[in-house]
């Protein structure tokens, strides 16, 4: 009975989403205030029912209701209680419900925190969000009902995919979806601006905090996914350029371009059409990602169970949403380039380069990801492009970004002085070069990649710190750093840390696959890995062969690692659990292969991964930067009130509505 209530709640939510979409849009079009006012209660009501449906599915998992097909397929009586919660989003149907829940949460947040915006604008924003919600609710109810029953009721469930029985995966999808879905807000703001013809810079200011928050969540979600892949897939890699990973990475690339172009548009009025387009693209790529992951068009290591019917549905939805919004864009986008003029060397140009590079990077990832389909379409055979393609393209496109990054904050809007900027950055350049040379001379045979990474990381990191220092010196106490600027500094320091991590781990990792008999040792550098043997171990829903490997350095034991080869009882899947000893400067990573020979020998995989943590620390700093920047006062209630007061409404569309608080000092970038 209760699962049927869940389905009923979803149907009610669908009806309310139709209301939330249709009535406010009509109201905004005809100027009917009563119809516009329907938007907020509709959002609230829809959210209540979506939360109810989600709670009911969670209850079905915790109470082990195997009469629900989805529960029977993704849970098991032996499944530990905490995984029963995360199992809710462990497969297609439930993760779709999570998508809808998060969209509802974002809609409520927008409705609650944007009371000061013009009624017709908000009606359009919530109407667009309602349309998206309606599409996904229909998708769930028509093709992927999580509450469908199974008869006869199985005695026990099949169990959650062992790869997903992991703490990292509890948080990965929710964070990722917070990012994906969060871009729907920037999208809705852009469409609302296009529909209402309100194409000045205010919609950008109103949407900027939402974009930053969404971007920060997406960064976190991708980082969690990468961290999870690192220690669960047992391969020790942190990024595989798998179609599913690319699906989340493309919106991130476009989102990164978007937060930078929004800064230009908001402050200088330039790039207006481009910013609109990026807002549409960022969300479109989120939808495309959903399509690629769930339609079965691409084969992937961790694709969802697929079904062409679902693919057709999402494709049609994609066509309506993206095609429709691009059509509106074609009809409504500003025909005259607005904004202040700028010189070839200026902060605008720097940010333009950033935008071009990130947009190109997204396009090349898209091309590589879709290449197998292109191969099918033109009968080229079954082609795929491997990670080397993506890695090569990405590095080539990011080199100019990293080299030019420190200039950004030092260049002024409109007309920058390259000589002065270079002078300010000279200490960073000198330090980076000298430190890299020293490292090369002292450490000896370091690969070029590691040296280049160190140099680039120091260049970016020190360059940004120099900017922070110059602000500290020049500005009066109390107005030295706006949150927006702090966020920018933090995120760019994250880039420096990330670059160091990636380049060093990619070039100096030691990876050994060895055959080891018990009590045999293997020396790697100054480390000795001693294999003590394998014995049986048991978990709640698996048995395992557990190895013991002692790592010593200079006669001192620094780690005892227990990698496992797990055999899950219910679905007989084998899963490799790597064991690792994390460290700021180095991870030790051990995984069991398989038994080889009769003498108790095992194939053992031993990795030493220097600086691998820096990849995720860098990503976390970027995320933090996104959140901090979103907290800036200029996006707060006061600023919005000023935007919507009559004098600002009449203000020229060409100039920013707010006086620049930091002039004549260099204005913060993002």
């Amino acid at each position: 009975m209760i699962p049927e209530l869940g389905q009923f709640a979803l149907i009610l939510a669908l009806l309310l989403s139709v209301v939330q979409c249709v009535l406010p849009l009509i109201g905004a079009h005809s100027g009917n205030r009563a119809l516009m006012a329907v938007a907020r209660p509709a959002v609230a009501g829809q959210t209540v029912f979506v939360v109810a449906a989600f709670a009911i599915l969670t209850y079905a998992f915790t109470s082990q209701d195997f009469s629900v097909a989805y529960v029977a397929q993704n849970s098991n009586s032996l499944l530990p209680w905490f995984y029963r919660f995360s199992a809710v989003w462990g497969a297609h149907e439930g993760s779709l419900l999570l998508w809808i829940l998060i969209l509802a949460v974002w809609s409520v947040a927008v409705a609650a925190f944007s009371r000061h915006l013009p009624a017709d604008f908000m009606a359009r924003v919530l109407g667009v969000l309602g349309f998206i919600s309606c599409g996904f609710l229909l998708f769930t109810l028509l093709t992927s009902n999580p509450f469908a029953r199974i008869l006869p009721v199985p005695a026990d469930g099949i169990d959650l995919n062992p790869m997903l029985q992991d703490p990292g995966l509890i948080m990965h999808p929710p964070m990722l979806y917070m990012g994906y879905v969060g871009f729907s807000v920037a999208f809705a703001f852009a469409i609302a601006a296009l529909l209402g013809g309100r194409l000045d810079v205010r919609w950008v200011r109103w949407s900027r905090p939402w974009t930053n928050i969404a971007w920060a969540f997406l960064t976190l979600g991708i980082a969690l996914g990468s961290w999870w892949a690192y220690y669960t897939l047992g391969w020790g890699g942190w990024w595989f350029w798998d179609p599913v990973e690319n699906a989340s990475f493309m919106p991130w690339l476009v989102g990164t371009a978007l937060i930078h172009s929004q800064a230009v548009t908001e402050k200088r009025g330039s790039f207006r059409a481009w910013t609109l387009l990026l807002a549409i693209f960022a969300f479109s790529l989120s939808l495309l990602g959903t399509f690629l992951v769930r339609s079965g068009v691409l084969t992937s290591v961790h694709a969802f169970a697929t079904d062409p019917e679902r693919g057709v549905f999402i494709l049609v939805f994609l066509a309506i949403v993206v095609g429709g919004s691009l059509l509106i864009y074609a009809l409504r986008a500003p025909r005259v380039a607005g904004g202040e003029p700028f010189a070839p060397v200026s902060r605008e140009t720097a940010l333009l380069v950033n935008n071009l590079m990130f947009a190109c990077a997204a396009a090349t990832v898209l091309l590589g990801t879709l290449y197998p389909i292109i191969g099918d379409a033109f009968s080229l055979g079954r082609i795929s492009v491997g990670p080397p393609y993506f890695a090569f393209m990405f590095i080539m496109l990011m080199i100019p970004v990293v080299l030019l990054l420190p200039f950004g904050p030092f260049l002024k809007w409109r007309q920058g002085n390259p000589v002065a900027a270079m002078k300010s950055l000279l200490p960073a350049l000198v330090t980076a070069v000298v430190a890299t040379l020293l490292a090369w001379l002292l450490v000896g045979d370091l690969p070029v990649k590691a040296l280049a990474g160190t140099a680039a990381s120091l260049w970016v990191g020190l360059g940004i710190l120099l900017f922070a220092l110059s602000r500290w010196r020049k500005a009066a106490p109390g107005r030295r750093f706006t949150p927006e600027m702090l966020g920018m500094i933090c995120a760019h320091l994250g880039v420096a840390v990330f670059v160091a991590g990636v380049m060093i781990v990619e070039s100096t990792s030691i990876e050994r696959d060895v055959r080891m008999v018990p009590n045999q040792g293997v020396e790697i550098g100054s480390l000795t890995f001693q294999f003590e043997g394998v014995h049986e171990a048991r978990g709640p829903n698996f048995t395992a062969e557990q190895g013991t490997i002692t790592v010593t350095e200079g006669g001192r034991t620094i780690a005892t690692l227990h990698p496992q080869k797990r055999q899950y009882m219910r679905n007989a899947q084998v899963q490799t659990e790597a064991a690792l000893k994390p460290g700021v400067f180095r991870d030790l990573y051990v995984a069991l292969g398989e038994p080889v020979g009769d003498d108790g020998a095992w194939a053992v995989r031993i990795y030493v991964k220097p600086f691998v943590r820096w990849i995720w620390i860098g990503a976390l700093l970027m995320m933090l930067g996104g959140f901090v920047a979103a907290a800036d006062k200029r996006f707060g209630v006061v600023a919005r009130l000023r935007d919507t007061s009559p004098s600002a409404r009449d203000g020229s569309a060409n100039s920013p509505a707010l006086p620049d608080p930091e002039s004549p000092l260099p204005n913060p970038g993002t």
Binding site: A273, S284, V297, L326, D376
Partner: protein, 182 residues
Amino acid sequence: MNTRLLPLAGFLLLLALLGFGIWWSSTHDLRAVPSPLIGKPAPSFDLPLLYEPTRSFGSADLAGEPYLLNVFGSWCVACRDEHPILMREGKRLGIRLVGFNYKDEPDDAKRWLAQFGDPYDVVIADYPGKVAIDFGVTGAPESFLVDGQGIIRYKYISPITPQVIATELLPRIAAMRQEVAR
């Protein structure tokens, strides 16, 4: 030309590509494609029984009633995943379950069935793998659903799961019954 239409045009190209992708993956689906034999009569064969190698058993003995031919081998680890499900749910199908022991040493197969249980109504052995070629077997486990007229109605590659029984096999068996009743 209005340059603002360019993004839309690009998107339409992408859409065409994705639409093609869907069409391609649905017509080339793993479970839909493999056998050109679906809808055609099952190949006729005569094979020794696993437990009585001197007695031969063939399509003639199976005619008239539907059956599920399940290809397995003691060497096949995936079959070990499938086996408990056949043990538990095989009877639910309500039709004969024919074990097709594929490229297997008879002693290994017997030991395997003794250890894990024997869900089959009859087990035939194809050690040389000749009949398997006629059936287009690509590996094990694979299962063929054959109706009373000896027509192959459905083929499933990879271990049978409870979902497959519920969503693929049972509905087809029920449909076959209805046809016969009519």
